[in-house]
């Protein structure tokens, strides 16, 4: 196999093209689709962070939207009540969300499987009730309004969707980078060993309990970031965005994209937000087709969309005799 030595690797070129594409993307679409793009971007962070907890470490959590909500309300209230700047309230919201994630993880992660799922489910319901009933703080169903925009940063003001889009792009970049680095490391291997077989993992010196609590804290911290951004972008918060149904929605994104795959979670979030918009033309049949599509994906591609993508590429390469970089023995990277 002869691979000519290149100064610039093909993957670097693809990354460059991808980033350029993302930068010019808002200029190719209208305001409506930019809105959809930003919403789907928030869910990319949520799906990628839940995948770290569920797909990589194997801990089923049905409370991710609750942590998203905690991040959103924390950041909003810090700016509204204490007059903090968004640039301070966002990291604080992240830390506070991680702290609550840590608190719930300590008792919950002593449980496994269905029991853990039920505890996280209960926590999700509890947070929803707090957001709805603690009206003096959250204004409940009347919604928390007047959340300030981020203060200008380096002369950039947040008056239109465009700067929000770029801010979100940076946040997604950081989140994906952090998760990718964790997954492809000693820590990532340890997390996967917890998913695969806790008894074996312990016999090799992996402190499984420590890793479960840690990954839950990191995953919920990232959900807190998504929440903080969302609060100051939308500038109105109501509890019904952070319910059980929303947790399940994030869960579906991870499953549809492919459990344990970072790129799969990104794809899963994009598909599940964009699909209903694209199907809007179908009118009343929309939800039917959407539900059917999700069922078909889960039944026929249990490995998720990313797995399907990988297989199609491999199939095309075989059909046309292209072996791309030509090395099938490369260790699979998530």
């Amino acid at each position: 196999m002869e691979v000519p030595s290149r100064l610039i690797s093909p993957s670097l070129i693809w990354a460059g093209v991808g980033i350029l594409g993302l930068v010019i993307w808002p200029f190719l679409i209208g305001q409506y689709w930019l809105q959809i793009t930003i919403v789907s971007g928030v869910f990319v962070i949520l799906a990628v962070s839940l995948n770290l907890i569920m797909g990589i470490a194997g801990q089923l959590s049905i409370a991710h939207a609750a942590f998203y909500g905690i991040g959103a309300y924390t950041s909003a209230l810090l700016t509204l009540r204490l007059g903090l700047s968004f640039w301070v309230s966002l990291p604080l919201a992240m830390v506070f969300t991680a702290f609550l994630g840590y608190l719930i993880a300590i008792p919950a992660l002593r449980l496994r499987g269905h029991y853990l799922a039920i505890v996280t489910l209960g926590f999700g319901v509890l947070i929803y009730q707090v957001l709805e009933r603690w009206e003096s703080m959250t204004r409940g169903v009347m919604a928390l309004t007047g959340i300030p925009r981020p203060t200008p940063f380096l002369g950039i003001t947040f008056r239109t969707k465009l700067p929000y889009y770029y801010l979100l792009l940076i946040l997604i970049g950081i989140v994906v980078f952090v998760v990718y680095r964790i997954v492809n490391s000693r820590v990532g291997l340890a997390l996967k060993s917890v998913r695969e077989d806790e008894v074996s993992a312990q016999a090799l010196g992996v402190n499984t309990y420590h890793y479960k609590v840690a990954v839950f804290s990191v995953g919920t911290a990232l959900a807190g970031i998504a929440g903080g951004f969302h609060a100051h972008y939308q500038r109105v918060l109501a509890p019904d965005e952070f319910s059980f149904v929303d947790s399940v929605r994030i869960l579906m994104m991870v499953i549809v994209g492919g459990m344990g795959s970072v790129s799969g979670s990104i794809l899963g979030a994009l598909v599940l937000i964009w699909l209903p918009e694209i199907l809007r033309a179908m009118g009343d049949f929309r939800d039917l087709v959407y539900g059917l599509a999700v069922i078909l994906i889960v039944i026929f591609i249990p490995g998720g969309l990313m797995e399907m993508f990988r297989r199609s590429v491999a199939f095309l390469q075989r059909q046309f005799g292209l072996s791309a970089s030509g090395d099938d023995s490369v260790v699979r990277r998530d």
Binding site: R186, E196, A214
Partner: protein, 254 residues
């Protein structure tokens, strides 16, 4: 210095004394065999030593250190490795990754280190890969390092489990039925691996069902029945012992 020593060790499940007032020691550098009829408490004893089960009574020391109450991951850290009666691999991870995980207790990278990925981290990762590759070479699985563990045939899975346990740099290795489910040839391979491991300075404590195998492999043998030690001695003495023969009533000892 005492290597592994247990005195009056007792593990009960309800009224059942799975391990009952057991006294024995493992001497450094030997291969000690552990035999006994089904349900004699052999695997329970392994689970007690490795911290998966906590004994009700008795003392258990490793290199003069009390290890009762230590968590399984701490036991691995102080140098006691194990394999399982039913192979327990990380099925959806690659063969190489399985062995790399064995290095976990000898490496340090944490969450922050993984994210920043400084020079130390990359060096540690390279060393982990190299050590894992060496061990795969040792068990003859170098050619399959990128396959998923679940796609290996059963015999190779046993080899892989041994490589993974060796990656923890154990001083004492507990091996639960190394030849179970293997054919004659594979069994021979495992036995020669175990001998080489002992030559490398690792002490072995081996549960084995096949009498012929353990008589050949072990320097000494402890025989359990109903959780108690009924005999201890060389393989030759064990074969002649009337207590052992009656415990195995009907089973032939060759």
């Amino acid at each position: 210095m005492d290597f592994l020593e247990c005195q009056g060790l007792t593990k009960r499940f309800g009224g059942l004394h799975a391990v009952d007032m057991l006294d024995f020691r493992v001497e450094e550098g030997e291969i000690l065999g552990l035999i006994g009829p089904n349900g004699a408490g052999k695997t329970t004893l392994f689970n007690v030593i490795t911290g998966s089960l906590v004994p009700e009574e008795g003392r258990l020391t490793f290199q003069s250190r009390d290890i009762v109450g230590m968590q399984p991951h701490q036991i691995a850290e102080i140098g006691i490795g194990r394999t399982f009666q039913q192979v327990r691999l990380f099925e959806n991870l690659s063969v190489l990754e399985n062995v790399m995980l064995g290095r976990h207790c000898r490496t340090r990278t944490g969450f922050l280190g993984a994210i920043v990925r400084g020079a130390k981290v990359t060096v540690e990762e390279r060393q982990t890969r190299e050590r894992a590759a060496e061990l795969l070479e040792f068990v003859g699985l170098s050619g399959r390092k990128n396959d998923l563990a679940k796609n290996l045939p059963h015999g190779h899975q046993r080899f892989l489990e041994i490589a993974r346990a060796m990656a923890t740099d154990p001083r004492l290795l507990l091996i639960d039925e190394p030849t179970s489910g293997l054919n004659e040839a594979e069994g021979q391979v495992v036995l020669s691996m175990l001998r080489k491991i002992r030559e490398g300075g690792v002490t072995l404590f081996v549960i084995e069902h096949h009498m012929k195998v353990i008589m050949n492999l072990a320097d000494r043998i402890v025989v359990l029945n109903y959780g108690s030690k009924i005999f201890e001695g060389t393989p030759a003495e064990t074969q002649q012992s009337p207590e052992v023969i009656s415990a195995y009533l009907g089973e032939e000892i060759e």
